[in-house]
Amino acid sequence: MKTHLRIIGAVALKDITDALKNRTILIILLSMLFLIGMYRVLPLLESIGQAPNVLVYDAGDSTLVPLMESSLALKAWTGYQSEAHMKEKLASGQAPELGLVIPADFDAGNETTLQGYVLYWVNEKDAVALKQRVEEEISRLAGRSISIHLEGNTIFMQPDSSGYGLLAGLGMSFTILMIGVSLVPNLMLDEKQGRTMDALLVSPAGPVHVTLAKALAGLFYAAATIAVALALYNRLITHWWLTVCVMLCGALFAVALGLLLGSLTESRQQLTVLGWGVVIPLFVPMMLVMVRNLLPTWLYAILRWIPSVALFEALRISFSQQPTLAFGRPTDAQYGLPLALLLAWTGALLALVAWRVRQIDR
């Protein structure tokens, strides 16, 4: 056992250090980091210099609301049928936004404090700044001092919320899958094309050692990317253990897929063709489930069996307030099924890799 571990460790360590000198692999890694950073920053950049969004639920027929709608200092969104409806929309925000409830008797002048809501991932400083900005404007519009109460009024995302959580889930899923599909097979191709694989296979290393070592190197870089993603999206994460667990399962799946691609291809051209043949059926369904409400039920029932969709849904569930380990609907924050699907796909792929490795072994 010690010998096996030494061999696997040696090949994995060589791959990890050599990858940093390999232009193709460096480009893959930097592209993934750029991508994950872009998903993080882009929605926030869009809101810079813009009037803050205020989602207003008007319980009565307040005169303040038309004034807010015509204000240039804020952008009021109105017309919500209930407070819950407003909160549901607020949960799909991309940038720091404020939810505001105007009570039915507001115009009577009895109320000087309104209930305000912000998303849980908005930092306290931004929330306070937003609150003050809106307070000043609505006080000016109403002609009297009005304060907004935020303490404890935090809104969490739902598994089917759009906005920032959806973008983060998409960015993380995309990055993890791309690391597996592009980096791992390149590690294997490098050995084949440089014919160093022959030297490896006459050394004490066998095909199983080499495959496991490539998997370890792939997991190392996937873990590094996951660490960057977690650092960037740390405010979004409500259940760290679940997000990390889902991302690691996703990385395992991606690495298994990468190993299979690497074992099936002999040239970069083959990898490009086969890679796209895999990437498209994985990524298109993820895009489709973003508009799940517009899909026919039967189509969604099929799509949810696809591993990339399972990863995407499990990640979104992990950002919600109360995920539960049950095998029901992902929209009810039950992550059992997507996680089990992801693991089952990983197992199936690893079985295929094992079969392929046995074939390669002379």
């Binding site: 000198k21 022959d198 030297a199 296979l201 006459v202």
Partner: protein, 246 residues
């Protein structure tokens, strides 16, 4: 115990017989020249003897290890210099050797020892990309010797090298043999085979057509003025010669 024992070794590729019932033995410490025209089956034989390829039929043992069933025991006993330069070009010579040392569980001190032995210590930290062909070949030999194998397979080790490096490598083969390492050598340079080998086998269309000491082969095919190249052409170039004579 013979260093290499081969019995009726055969390998087919899609119905074509690349190696046809080859049998021979190699003594410990012997330099065994394995000669033949392109496509005669030399590299296929080496691949079978080093456990890279399963024979279709027949058996082979290297240092007592069956090449099919005892590959794990076989691997530490052998070193190979391939006919192509398969090293990690982005790594330095030292890193290449340290990697090989980790694979074989060889002590790190061996890395410095073989770097010195092959005259590479001054450029040990340079990336391989900057190396000349001759330096790369010396590094390949260093890698093959790192774990102190009992049998060294050299597949055309001097091909494409300048005469000085080729001479160094030949001298090195002689030294190894003196140290008791068995050398299995394939080459297209007949003079090299003649000078280095204790015995040579000439392979033609997958079959051994001659196997003896170079001097005895030359004597059997003409006498004092006959070269090993003459013997080689007499045994393997009949069809070609006939075509020119027509």
């Amino acid at each position: 115990m013979n260093a290499i024992e081969v019995q009726n070794l055969t390998r087919d590729f899609n119905g074509l017989r690349a190696v046809d019932s080859v049998s021979f033995e190699v003594q410990p410490g012997e330099v065994f020249g394995f000669l033949g025209p392109n496509g005669a089956g030399k590299t296929t034989t080496i691949r079978m003897l080093t456990g890279q390829l399963r024979p279709t039929t027949g058996t082979a043992r290297v240092m007592g290890c069956d090449v099919v069933t005892q590959r794990d025991a076989l691997k530490p006993q052998i070193g190979i210099v391939f006919e192509y330069q398969n090293i990690y070009e982005r790594l330095s010579a030292r890193d290449n050797l340290l990697f090989a040392a980790r694979l074989y569980g060889a002590p790190k001190a061996r890395v410095d020892a073989v770097l010195k032995q092959m005259g590479l210590e001054e450029r040990a930290n340079d990336r391989i990309k900057k190396y000349s062909n001759g330096m790369k070949q010396r590094l390949l030999i260093a890698r093959a010797l790192l774990h102190e194998p009992k049998v060294l397979f050299l597949d055309e080790p001097t091909r494409g090298l300048d005469p000085n490096v080729a001479r160094e490598i030949r001298a090195f083969v002689t030294d190894l043999s003196r140290q008791g390492v068995t050398v299995f050598l394939t080459t297209h340079y007949m003079e090299e085979a003649d000078r280095l080998s204790d015995r040579v086998a000439i392979l033609h269309k997958g079959k051994i057509v001659a196997l003896d000491a170079p001097a005895r082969l030359k004597a059997a095919h003409g006498g004092e003025q006959t070269t090993l190249e003459d013997v080689f052409i007499a045994l393997t170039g009949t069809e070609l010669r006939g075509r020119f004579e027509e």
